[in-house]
């Protein structure tokens, strides 16, 4: 009896603050949970079926636990995890809105979930219709002509978009080298540019937090393949000179790529296509309320203007008569996913759009912007905005006054918020803002919750003055206290089998 007990709940925050043993620590040789159906298939020994040279000497050791112990373990892990369903998650750039349970039911529908991806189109007309319906709606929302639903997340969408850019230029015999990115951009943008085979040229923001149009003009040239922008940008500010930017980029033959991570701000109000963008990716797991799953799955469809439609990845579901079929665009860049994309995420998004309709989506954007601006104003005395004017769905604030006065940094504020019952905002992003705290309240949080958040920050400000040391030690009420990140990086222990330092 040397294994750890799996019926003890002291690791559940309800009961205590112990560590939870790993699955491997509760494993006992000989236990099992699995039950399989009776098949009556002749049970020939594996060695008769497969040359023994291929067989492992011993089966891989997984873990050996009872169903009861598995349930206890995983349920306790879940109690050690914050989530939207537990409370507010004002993570800037992440759009952690409420995820309707209805969409979970959609994704669990066996009519959708139990379909094999290689089943012939004649037997999967419903799924093809889902894809076509969604593509059409996403095009309507973004003001584009056609879309691919294959990319599995935002970054995958970006890279797809860059490959579309490349294919477009190459189809015109046009070799271009650089892609322009504002200094406020999300890290996936430059990383994708590299993988797209381009060099990054960073364009600075001006003192209004927007792309510096003159600086942009300065770096534009015939070797520029395009520009990647989010609008609103990662500061939460709308690029007011977008028309001029678009004209300047188009003038040198470049394309405009829209990073749709912030689309929630402008649904039904402004469309990327109308702003002059040629390529748009969307994060369905942000704007269209797919739950984040602790870090995926998401979906990052890419919509394009008509002149790029021929290059889209394929195959794509398309209408054919009264039905649907698969077709690959004539100059397709090829597949970007093993199958058709994160299909169940796509179905969720379509259901979300069905429920909201045109007017509902617009209201979503308006209220997201309302919440962010209210919060910006409400917190102005403690955490001034990096740019104190109308923001969009998120606001980038600064902890500099607290740092200057008491040595309390953005990180301390973030950790102290955990003790107050709120997830932290995004910190130290975008990189161009000192002591950045980026709040994105989303439209599904109520004014009462925003006010409670503001009051929590007021209390933290008081603590900063009276007990800055205490703030450096926060959080204390959580299952573990501040975690030693440096130690983790110094001695990597990435599996239960790794040697311990």
């Amino acid at each position: 009896m040397t294994a750890s007990p799996a019926g003890r709940a002291s690791s559940a925050p309800l009961m205590g603050r112990d560590a939870e043993p790993t699955l491997f620590e509760i494993s006992v040789p000989g236990r099992h949970a699995y039950q399989l159906r009776t098949t009556d298939v002749p049970a020939r020994p594996l060695a008769e079926l497969v040359p023994t040279a291929h067989l492992a000497e011993a089966p891989v050791a997984i873990a050996e636990v009872s169903e009861r112990d598995l349930v206890g373990h995983v349920t306790r892990l879940s109690h050690r995890q914050f989530s939207v369903d537990l409370g507010m998650y004002p993570l800037g750039s992440c759009t952690m809105k409420y995820n309707p349970k209805f969409c979970d039911a959609v994704a669990a529908d066996p009519g959708l979930a139990s379909v094999h991806p290689a089943a012939p189109a004649a037997l999967t007309q419903g799924w093809l219709e889902v894809l076509v319906d969604l593509e059409e709606r996403l095009c309507a929302i973004t003001g584009m002509a056609a879309a691919t639903l294959q990319p599995a997340a935002g970054a995958a969408g970006e890279l797809t978009g860059l490959l579309l850019m490349r294919a477009y230029h190459e189809s015109r015999g046009d070799v271009r080298r650089r892609v322009i990115i504002p200094d406020s951009a999300h890290g996936t943008n430059p990383a994708s540019v590299t993988l797209g085979g381009y060099e990054v040229t960073t364009v600075p923001s001006n003192d209004r937090g927007l792309v510096d149009l003159e600086a942009l003009r300065g770096v534009l040239g015939p070797d520029v393949a395009g520009i990647m922008l989010t609008n609103p940008n990662t500061l939460g500010l709308f690029e007011e000179e977008i028309v001029e930017i678009a004209a300047a980029v188009h003038e040198v033959g470049g394309l405009l790529y829209y990073d749709g991570a912030n689309l929630n701000a402008i649904l039904g109000v402004v469309r990327p296509g109308d702003m002059g963008f040629d390529i748009v990716h969307m994060n369905l797991h942000k704007t269209f309320a797919t739950p984040h799953g602790g870090g995926g799955p998401g979906a990052g469809p890419v919509a394009v203007a008509a002149h790029l439609a021929d290059f889209l990845p394929g195959p794509r579901a398309v209408r054919e008569g009264a039905g649907f079929t698969w077709a690959t665009p004539p100059r397709s860049i090829g597949r970007v996913h093993g199958w058709h994309g994160n299909a169940l995420v796509l179905a969720r998004a379509l259901a979300y759009i069905h429920v909201h309709g045109a007017e509902g989506l617009t209201r979503v954007a308006q209220h997201a912007v309302l919440n962010a601006n209210w919060l910006r104003r409400r917190l102005a005395a403690i955490l001034p905005a990096a740019h104190d004017r109308m923001c969009m769905h998120e606001c980038t604030l600064r902890a500099t006054p607290l740092k200057d006065a008491y040595g309390v940094r953005a990180l301390d504020v973030a950790k102290a918020l955990l003790e107050e019952g709120f997830h932290a905002p995004t910190v130290y992003f975008p990189l161009i803002v000192d002591e950045a705290l980026m709040f994105e309240p989303t439209e599904t949080e109520s004014p009462q919750t925003l006010e409670a958040l503001a009051q929590a920050i007021e209390r933290i400000a008081v603590r900063a003055a009276t007990d800055p040391e205490g703030l450096h030690r926060a959080p204390q009420t959580t299952p573990v206290a501040r975690v030693d990140e440096a130690r983790a990086a110094r001695h990597l222990v990435a599996t239960a089998d790794a040697p311990r330092p």
């Binding site: 989530s83 959609v106 799955p297 597949r335 955990l418 299952p479 206290a481 990086a489």
Partner: protein, 453 residues
């Protein structure tokens, strides 16, 4: 119209007052009117959830190929395995489902520890010391492996067996347009890779599938020898269920293992969300794509988990990152860890064994039929390819009428001129999982006999 907004009109008015505008539209006053949308989105009006549910049910009803309706013998990287209610219940817990990426470890130990357990399991299956926290799917995991090989060797030539899933090869080709990699697809001859006559000079990676997409158990030692001869990385693309009983990628000398993790608790889902498995040797860890969770301590000395080696990642390294991946497939990784916990050592072995038993039983029965010839006589594991005397497409349509999804028509899987197979129109790829009963298999055989008459 429905929505999930809490705001009452009075609250909106109060809030607008603080903000200093007098209407919701006023929040957008600084947006140039030239780009503002007049007249609203061109979308149907919103409907209530129950109305939308009826629409969704309609889509579902128009799918004839639900595994609940057709007995599934299709595979090609997506398998109909048992997913028990207990796994669905646990993986569906809202703390996992509605959490963000664990940026604040103090309140994210649940997801972090689950990923740590997942990493351990993937590493064990791969026979390699390090695994990451997941990638999008098997195909994109392969792309990341090629990128890693490029980073490790500074070279750009990739020898990819044509036994690798055709879609994965297609994805590798797509992304090679950006990275500039030269992807050389090495032909299959008689169902196995013909590595002969290749110039291994300047090769960054040698990629072999194990088993390959036709089900064949190739000899990874050949690929290893080739890779070793030039200091290239050996990448094994493996079926993780077969990995439960086969020699591990690591034991064959692989530097990288990639796989499609769907068989571990994820429904067929029309192809996604799935799960890209990725494991590698110790010396590649600084080039690892995506997130990795490490064990550490909190300030009070308690064991804790945290995402680590962040300096590889795009949010820190930006254009120099090892990969651009950010959001990945965590929920599927957590699901896989739970499903593997449910299976345990014996269960995984049993599932793998039953797959092989079912596949061989069906194979033996089918090759006895007139009009059926095996594509190869090589050993296979749980999947096999048959050449039929009628187009596979037609056979699939016929068997669907008898309640069977007969497999995957190779013609639909491979592009024109694929170097893995000739005349793919006649070839049917058939997979068997532990869920298939003898009665179902016998029914399949009878139906096939009828279809080929």
């Amino acid at each position: 119209m429905a929505d999930y907004l809490p705001h009452t009109p009075e609250e909106v008015a109060t809030m607008l007052a603080l903000v200093g505008v007098d209407s919701l539209e006023g929040l957008y006053a600084h947006v140039p009117s030239a780009v503002r949308l007049a007249g609203g989105l061109d979308l149907p009006a919103g409907v209530s959830e129950p109305d939308a549910a009826a629409l969704v049910a309609g889509y579902g009803a128009r799918n004839g190929a639900r595994a609940s309706e057709l007995v599934c013998f299709a595979g090609a990287g997506a398998y109909d395995h048992e997913v028990p209610p207990v796994v669905r219940a646990l993986a569906g817990r809202s703390e996992f489902v509605t959490a963000y990426t664990p940026y604040q470890p103090e309140v994210a130990q649940g997801v972090l520890q689950a990923i740590f357990e997942y990493q351990t399991l993937v590493a064990r299956l791969a026979g390699l010391p390090i695994a990451n926290a997941s990638l999008y799917d098997g195909a994109t995991a392969l792309v990341e492996a090629l990128n890693m090989a490029h980073g490790a060797t500074g070279r750009s030539r990739m020898l990819v067996s044509s036994g690798v899933h055709p879609h994965w090869r297609a994805v590798a080709r797509t992304f090679a347009a950006g990275t500039g990699h030269e992807v050389v697809e090495v032909p299959l001859v008689g169902g196995r890779t013909d590595w002969s006559g290749l110039d291994p000079e300047g090769v960054a990676a040698v990629v072999v599938a194990y088993p390959n997409y036709l089900g064949v158990l190739e000899d990874p030692a050949e690929a290893k020898a080739l890779a070793e001869s030039v200091g290239a990385l050996l990448v094994v693309a493996g079926d993780p269920v077969a990995a439960g009983v086969l020699r591990s990628a690591g034991s064959w000398g692989a530097d990288v293992f990639v796989g499609e993790g769907q068989p571990f608790g994820t429904a067929l889902s029309f192809g996604g969300p799935y799960l890209g498995l990725f494991a590698c040797a110790e010396d590649q860890v600084r080039r690892l794509p995506g997130r990795i969770v490490g064990e550490t301590l909190d300030t009070e000395g308690r064991r804790a988990y945290v995402t680590t080696l962040r300096a590889r990642e795009q949010d820190i390294r930006r254009e120099k990152a090892t990969s651009n991946v950010c959001t990945n497939q965590t929920l599927m990784a957590v699901t896989a860890a739970i499903q593997l916990g449910w299976l345990g050592t014996a269960g995984l072995r049993e599932v793998a064994t039953r797959c092989a038993q079912g596949a061989h039983y069906l194979f033996d029965e089918l090759v006895g039929l007139e009009g059926v010839t095996p594509v190869t006589t090589e050993p296979f594991f749980r999947e096999f390819a048959l050449r039929l005397r009628r187009p596979a497409r037609e056979v699939i349509a016929r068997l669907a009428q008898e309640g069977i999804l007969a497999g995957v028509a190779l013609e639909a899987l491979v592009g024109p001129g694929d170097r893995s197979i000739d005349a793919p129109e006649d070839v049917l790829l058939v997979a068997v999982t532990e869920r298939r009963t003898r009665a179902e298999i016998d029914h399949y055989v009878a139906a096939m006999r009828g279809a080929l008459q």
